[in-house]
Symmetry: C2
Subunit: 767 residues, 2 copies
């Protein structure tokens, strides 16, 4: 049910799969006889996903292929690769720009009309693609191909939905959806123009494989961040620190090129807008909270204040993750009950948000406009620092100034210096608490929503608050405190350091802040890591995406690969009978099969390689059969072109049930040799599971053959896939490990032991 | 001759090894019977190096070890890891600072005395550690352990030598030596205090392995760049883009921490210096060419000029690499003739440099001091923009202003804006040409020398020149042109993009330049890549360091691993006779041996794992022998502590010849099982060499076992090491490939075909 799951894309992803739908799909390589016990073990955490093939396929057929032959085609390939990056950059830049343009204009209009009923009505149309999208893209780059993660429809829904959600009252950001948008654009371009575009299609055929598509998606997600924050270097770093599971110097370069294009496109569009052609869209529309000042001065004496900011920020950040996880679980339960509940929930959150925004400013007292103001005060009918709200002339409501702006404007207000007296502590406290919880409640309700901007705005409030409390004890101005507060909360919830640091520096355009920023990020990440994990990993786990961790769990050291290989192994002969192939393909859902040459072809059973289900189905479809068991001199490869083996868009593959074969066909044979990957990666059965995981993950595998440690009847004793490395599967097979695991978990509530636990978890990540 | 090669460290590295000294050392795993043909093949390009073990050793003994056991020890380990990073950061910061302080003061003194005879005399003392050090550290991180790359002596020589060389007239930089210095500090700390420091030693024992030491060295090289350029983010990116062969998110974080410490240390020291306690050391002494301005304005119309700058910069950069390579070859030939020649060469270059610097300014005419100058003109007796040289009062010599400054001051002068009329074209042309060739001639003569700064200064001259030529056609000021010129020349010679971009941004403190900088770097790298390789790779090749490339050569696709495995394989039984072990260790230089359980211990030969030479020698030394072939119940592991297996400093290992055994000992047996790595990585003999290389490199291996594809007499048919993947070895075994390779190379001179060739090379890097 998952293979052609295009229609389900909008609703399947954010939900946890019901218990019994699990594992009866492509990735499962165990025979059905064994499946019942599996389901119970694996639990409700596995989505209907395919794995991606990131390793090079090397069968004889592909060796004949263009890559090793034709210069013109190699040139086409390289040329197209760069052109695609260029197009991704341009498109991401355009989307980012128009996204912002639309948000500013819609949000402006909204304030003029002082009603958002209209928006709630519009929200009904985008019950889709909720959440940030970053966890999905991250899982894709890890090798998980959940249907519809990167499709045309997702792209469209993300763009429209993100504009509507951000410009509605919901406290959500656009960075996450932009990353997903960039990734979708890249995936669609890599998928190769769906046969509509005559000539273009020939050139794009080179990209119909998982490796190239992954590379493009990495570039696309970098472009997304670059477009959302106008932060090209930050975008590249984000893609590599947070998103990518594989990493190469050459890819770094190409991602860099893509984000450079984004930056240039944005720059050109801003040039146009500066001449005033973009409606309500202001000069700083592409968020760039410029805090450049002639001289940001700070000294070593400011370090304790920054450390304090970091520690509290870390605690707040990890608590943010904790509550968000709980809230998303409750939402999942509600959403499962049906559409009506979903709509009700969304309306509830939306109305609650609106109420907060409209009612809370009444709590703040009116303040007189400052004498030396540089802009109109109070501002009416457009965005600005001083909102009139209910105040008499010459006064403004500082809380309304924060609430009745887009998040971007609120952040700019909070980050700006020389505004230490503009806000009163009570307003900042209300603002901080409201943002903190609204951000959590708004995430993943119905619409595409990012986490970056809500966390930045909340952190800015938190930083200002700390700045106010430390007022006389620190030389830093409140704007700087707000910047550092944002950094600490981001570090506490997202746990990236280098990329966050660079993104924030690019946003604020002040390199002198660097040492303080690094310090606060390191502290908050360290503190938060002692409590729980990265927010994207938590969400990914909640969605049941089988993400392959970088580090092995400690119990994996105690197991060898033979401990987790189960079920009868299905193998094919080098020259196999058609009926056998059909039978095995119909009765199992395995995705790869070892090919073994047996006597009389060879003296003893010899491992030839690994063949993929998709290639087998193609062979059956083309009916290139042999009459007997003996290979003829006929070159079967002439029947095929490389395009036949090209990777289709996800969910587009043929199914064995659709192939019609006569009784005569069934009695014939197929020579699998030319289509077998003759260089599969292997491990010896005594290999420790932890080391097999390193191989699986570092090289980017989909199947790993297990060979015996000495002479044996069969040259292959098993096959490992992604699911065999999942904790649920392993602990299901070895329940004694579960106990030792729970034993450890029980210690958690005790403070110091908990920190030790986290240190152990850290240790695994570091050694 | 290489194992205890400490005494040779200063002189071995920069030289090409004589033909017959090759391969008769530890890494060689072929028996001597086969060695003659090897030597002829491998040629003169292989240094006496060990490989490093970056994979986790998992034998029974280590499984009992602390990592899986004691919380306090885990805490110690993590704590120490961070403390070490802290110390590396502090030390690198201090070295960087005092390095600069010394350079500024010495250089200042030099100008006052107007003589550098003294310096030439001093140069005689540091015939050592010539060159940048970056290629060596890069090779180390790739897994090559050449003796003395990272030793105490190298560290000392680098620091003193770098100060002397930079402050002498030689046109060399300090970034390269700083990277090497940082790496040395890290390696020495990781090596664990050489038993002098009572308690500390216990804590440092965890780091006595290659993995941890590699991680520390990565952090150290990041700290080096951070200290040299005051560029913490750039330092991290440099370490990861250019230096590191393996990459993990956790390591990124730790490197980031280290550079943050460097930044804070530097900041604190500058605070102290600002109060005027640092002698001649000026405010901007830590190079930071601040080009912040209120508004750097540029438009799309400036892009063609930038593209032109990039294209020419790429050509100049690759030409720089080309000439440098030729010059280094000539130097090697001269240096091989003996010390007298070395000294003569160095004196020659030094005198030639001095002559250029003193004579060339006479070519430039005197210019009147500008009316609106902000500083004293002409400046006498201290560094400044306007040098008097031979000019009448009220005039200055612009060429002397560039030559009679440290490189840092020259760069600052060239980068500064509003100085368009300060320099005349003739002076800039002379300056550019002189710097270009002096930079090449000065590199690697005798003293530690970086390439970064000479290339930056040359590029700044080139950029100014282009700016002058385009004067009226561009809106950019000449200072900006100088910055972009530096970027283009750096991109053309070093071929990094992201890290160079960030380093330059951190140096110039202007984020608004970002899009232009990215563009110029991309263009110059692309252009330069069509001609030749990265400068560090060229130097590494010249030094014969067996660097493992990321991408496989095309011919590796055509070979399987069994095609390159040669020589008789030496294996051990699970319980082996002492005399056998001694015999094999004495007659071969292999570094790892498969351990196989044979009948009667098992029914058929079974692969147990891999044992290292060092561990075998240790077993023999401890004499934990068994009287018979039958394993007793005695736990041999009690004889050993984990410290016994700790990795020593390079060149410190025991040798088999030093172990004395009685005749009775020789008749006894050793149980190898507890000390065997039971999880070695393996490949099937039919695996393509290209894919085996991917495994070898991605997982960071030192040995790779080759197993048969079906039943065979032995469960192992061969063993692969780093040297088996070297082009020289493969092409020696398969001369037909050489021909096809040369055929390709012959096409090179023809323009367009050459570009195709490069594209193919690129292709390999990208796919």
């Amino acid at each position: 049910m998952a293979i052609d799951g295009r229609g389900e894309e909008e609703e399947d992803l954010p939900q946890i799969q019901p218990l019994l739908e699990i594992q009866n799909h492509v990735q499962l390589r165990r025979s059905t006889s064994n499946a019942t016990s599996q389901v119970a073990i694996v639990g409700s955490n596995v989505c209907p996903v395919e794995s991606l093939d990131y390793e090079l396929i090397e069968n004889d057929f592909f060796k004949q292929d263009w890559r090793s032959r034709d210069r013109v085609q190699i040139f086409q390939y390289i040329f197209m690769k760069w052109i695609l990056c260029l197009i991704i950059g341009i498109l991401a830049g355009l989307v980012g720009f128009f996204n912002n343009l639309a948000v500013e204009n819609v949000a402006g209009m909204k304030f003029v009309i002082t009603s958002n009923m209209m928006l709630e009505h519009r929200l009904l149309k985008i019950w889709a693609a909720a959440g940030s999208g970053i966890p999905e893209v991250k899982a894709y780059l890890n090798g998980v191909d959940a249907p519809g993660i990167l499709s045309k429809r997702t792209l469209f829904v993300k763009i429209i939905g993100s504009i509507t959600a951000v410009s509605s009252s919901l406290n959500v950001g656009k960075a996450g959806p932009m990353v997903h948008t960039g990734a979708c654009i890249a995936a669609l371009l890599g998928q190769g123009g769906s046969k509509k575009y005559g000539l273009t299609w020939r050139w794009l055929r080179f990209f119909k494989n998982d490796r190239d598509r992954r590379d493009l998606v990495t570039c696309g997600s970098a472009a997304g961040i670059a477009a959302a924050f106008r932060a090209p270097v930050g975008g590249v770093l984000f893609a590599f620190e947070e998103m990518a599971s594989w990493w190469r110097s050459a890819l770094l370069w190409r991602a860099f090129f893509t984000t450079a294009v984004v930056a240039i496109v944005l720059r050109a569009l801003i040039d146009i807008c500066n001449s005033g052609k973009c409606g309500l869209f202001g000069k700083g529309g592409l968020i760039m909270y410029d805090v450049t000042s002639e001289h940001v001065s700070y000294h070593l004496s400011d370090v304790p204040a920054v450390l304090l900011l970091g520690v509290i920020g870390g605690i707040l950040g990890s608590f943010y993750n904790f509550i968000l996880q709980k809230v998303l679980r409750i939402y999942n339960l509600i959403n499962e009950k049906g559409h009506a509940y979903k709509i009700f929930l969304a309306c509830l959150i939306s109305i609650f948000t609106s109420c907060c925004l409209f009612l809370l400013p009444w709590l703040a007292s009116c303040r007189p406009c400052p004498a030396d103001r540089s802009e109109e005060c109070p501002t009416i009918g457009r965005s600005g620092n001083y909102k009139k709200f209910q105040c008499p002339p010459g006064h403004y409501n500082d809380l309304a100034s924060l609430f009745f702006n887009t998040n971007d404007d609120a952040i700019r207000n909070l980050f700006s210096k020389n505004t230490d007296s503009e806000f009163q502590p009570l307003s900042i406290i209300i603002f901080f608490v409201t943002c903190y919880f609204l951000g959590i409640l708004s995430y993943g309700v119905v619409a595409p929503s990012g986490l970056f901007v809500p966390v930045i705005v909340t952190g800015a409030g938190y930083g200002r608050l700390v700045g106010m409390l430390l007022d006389t004890h620190s030389n830093l101005n409140h704007g700087l405190f707000a910047v550092l507060g944002s950094a600490s909360l981001l570090g506490g919830s997202m746990r990236m350091t280098v990329s966050l640091c660079v993104i924030l520096l690019e946003l604020t355009n002040n390199l002198l802040l660097l040492p303080l920023m690094m310090l606060v990020l390191l502290v908050s990440k360290t503190v938060a890591d002692t409590f729980n994990g990265n927010i994207y990993d938590l969400i990914m786990k909640l969605k049941g995406l089988p993400y392959l961790e970088t580090h092995a769990e400690p119990y994996m050291r105690q197991l060898s690969v033979s401990d987790v290989v189960t079920g009868p192994l299905q193998v094919f002969n080098g020259i196999e009978k058609v009926s056998n192939i059909v039978h095995i393909l119909k009765t199992t859902r395995h995705n790869g099969f070892p090919v073994i040459d047996e006597p009389p072809v060879s003296d003893s059973p010899l491992l030839h390689g690994l063949i993929l289900r998709t290639h087998l189905i193609l062979l059956l479809k083309k009916k290139s059969f042999l009459p007997t068991h003996v290979p003829t001199g006929i070159d079967a490869t002439k029947l095929f072109s490389a395009d036949d083996f090209a990777k289709r868009g996800s969910g587009n593959s043929d199914k064995i049930e659709d192939i019609e074969l006569t009784v005569e066909d069934m009695e014939m044979f197929v020579d699998l040799h030319p289509f077998t990957n003759a260089s599969p990666y292997t491990v010896v059965e005594t290999m420790s599971l932890a080391k097999a995981l390193i191989l699986f993950r570092e090289v980017g595998l989909r199947h790993l053959l297990v060979v015996p440690k000495g002479s044996s009847i069969s040259p292959v004793v098993g096959i490992l896939t992604r699911h065999d490395f999942m904790a649920e599967h392993i602990l299901g097979l070895h329940p004694s490990l579960v106990r030792s695991r729970w034993k450890r978990l029980r210690f958690r509530p005790h403070g110091i032991v908990k920190i030790f636990r986290a240190s152990q978890a850290n240790l695994r990540a570091y050694i």
